[in-house]
Symmetry: C2
Subunit: 155 residues, 2 copies
């Protein structure tokens, strides 16, 4: 499998709780291309409970957020015809996040996040997402990702 | 100060990662009435980083989610003219969550969440929220909370 989007981020941009390779306490989400879509998987831990047997919606929102900004970075690089990891890095922050919870999410199951790139402009990428558990869509999301402001993460 | 909304939940509904009193690993968010608004405060830990110096948006989404469902429960009880903690408990799940990130959120600062009850129907409560850091609004949110389906949390 090719390198995860998040593993191409420079070290100083790899502290994110949701997806930073350098955050030992975090989720370390890993996202990949699957054709023109993006995909990531994550298995919630027992602490990520909402009600007994069901996954906490805030975790799902976090995963949608990080898969969205990761997908945005991948799409931004692809739109410029260059590899992730090349300079300068295109790193995105979340402008807005929307999640519709369409079914209760069972615990103890690997979740699959799929992203579709809806729009790429110079400063913005829009990603729509689904979250599946056992082949059933449990949540639908949309992330508007905005190119990181100058000076926010480096220097 | 009066009892936190979340501390009135029955024990079997107190496992939530974001706000359950019985989840030792979780955030244990506490929400209160402040007149007709609801308020909660939370200070992110160093692990809740997005980029160095800034708070992870997924955490903010989680807090908006839990303050929203907690506020919904409080508003649902108030609409029925009864105390939280009386039977049967009115516990809500998140139907949808929206967060606009309007400014970067600095680390090391207590965040204040404020909720305004927009709508209360028999099965649904809509809560709009702001998140402030150092007196500046850093995020705006909206939660559509839906009365918990029968059998999801009890029995």
């Amino acid at each position: 499998m090719s390198q995860a989007f998040q593993d191409t981020y420079p070290p100083e941009l790899s502290h994110c709780y949701g997806c930073g390779a350098n955050n030992a306490s975090g989720h370390q989400l890993k996202s990949y291309w699957d054709g023109d879509e993006t995909v990531a998987t994550f298995t919630p831990g027992p602490e990520h409970t909402a009600l007994p047997g069901y996954v906490y919606g805030g975790l799902i929102a976090s995963l949608v957020d990080c898969h969205g900004t990761g997908s945005a970075s991948a799409a931004g690089h692809r739109a410029q015809g260059r590899e992730m990891g090349s300079e300068p890095p295109l790193r995105y922050v979340t402008g807005s996040l929307h999640v519709d919870y369409v079914a209760p999410t069972p615990m103890g199951v690997e979740l699959t996040l799929r992203g579709v790139i809806e729009e790429v402009t110079e400063r913005k990428v829009v990603v729509s997402e689904t979250v599946e558990a056992n082949g059933t869509v449990v949540a639908k999301g949309k992330v508007v990702a905005v190119l990181m402001p100058e000076g926010m993460g480096r220097g």
